[in-house]
Point group: C2
Chain length 167, copies 2
DNA sequence: TTGGAATGTCAACAACACTGACATAAAATC
DNA sequence: GATTTTATGTCAGTGTTGTTGACATTCCAA
């Protein structure tokens, strides 16, 4: 099964099934490490990853609406609502009725919510910082390139929306 | 705050909180893409990701014991057992009592199990192949380096165990 | 042979996703 | 102004996957 024409086999060795399998397992094991530290913090608060995700994206886009959050998180409103309800009850998130469109609820982190967000993201950044430092800037660039190529196009949109620093 | 000594600030720009945040979100969005294709296949079989993981690692190490699998998957034996039971009932996995130690059960994929494994891994490889191809070999190398650095040490052990192709 | 450790199974429960149905309020449209 | 659509929230029910607790079996060693 020769590829195109001029492309020699040598430069495509990284596409063997064996290499791809290693990549798949690397994603599995790395994601576990990636979520391990926040998970430990969340346990103390009787929260789960769903709460983490909500807090993260409300922090990223203060005043975002429920619908916006639904699109980013890719869950049902019932599922998100359960999470938001507990976060609001616990005083970590504030929900304000929209001024222009009163149907919308705009979401903000309270002081306590920001404190939890900082604790969670600090733990996660610490691990990622260590991994970045160990791998070096060149590797980080490749890491980001592959991850972006692996996203669904719609998700890449949400990802790009928050882009500020030059890639 | 100065690192070692000679390291100039310039070369550490990739460690800014903003860059780390982008990395965190990239992991989140990419992992969703990474699991999306197998998830669709699993739906048809009324299985979940836990079944996928079990099938994957039994395929990787035929004859592995339940305890072995537990260490890799990082769940309780009760949780794994439920998944294995359904896979065995459905004829995808065979459980053989150990010959030397009759307490152990050795796990194998049946023909049907291998067929499902192929379908799942094919879907996942297809996406990863596309991402690898888009990013190029250099990027793939960096991708793998960062992921390995992000794993918990114990998980990296399990990862390395299956290493065959030179990194 | 008795007791402890390892291995695996069964039962019950919690978190978090899902679907479906429905209620409310406001905006948009006719 | 009446109707439809949109945005949000809620209730009920279900499924997957994690948990703990209790227990059976098997092996090994005192």
């Amino acid at each position: 099964m020769a590829e195109g024409g001029g492309q020699s086999g040598e430069s495509l060795l990284f596409l063997t099934d064996e290499q791809l399998r290693k990549g798949i397992e690397a994603m599995f094991f790395a994601y576990r490490g990636f979520t391990a530290d926040p998970d430990r913090i969340l346990e103390d608060h009787a929260y789960g990853r769903a709460h983490h995700r909500a807090v993260h994206f409300i922090n990223r886009s203060p005043g975002t609406t429920v619908n916006n959050l639904l699109a980013i998180l890719g869950v049902t409103k019932q599922s998100l609502n359960r999470v938001l309800r507990s976060l609001i009850e616990d005083g970590l998130v504030e929900s304000r009725v929209g001024t222009r469109d009163k149907r919308e609820r705009h979401l903000y982190l309270t002081e306590a919510g920001q404190a939890l967000e900082r604790a969670l993201s600090e733990a996660q950044r610490r691990r990622m910082r260590a991994a970045y430092r160990a791998a070096g800037p060149e590797a980080v660039s490749g890491f980001r390139q592959v991850l972006e190529a692996m996203m669904d196009p719609e998700m890449r949109r949400h990802f790009d929306e928050a882009k500020e620093t030059g890639g």
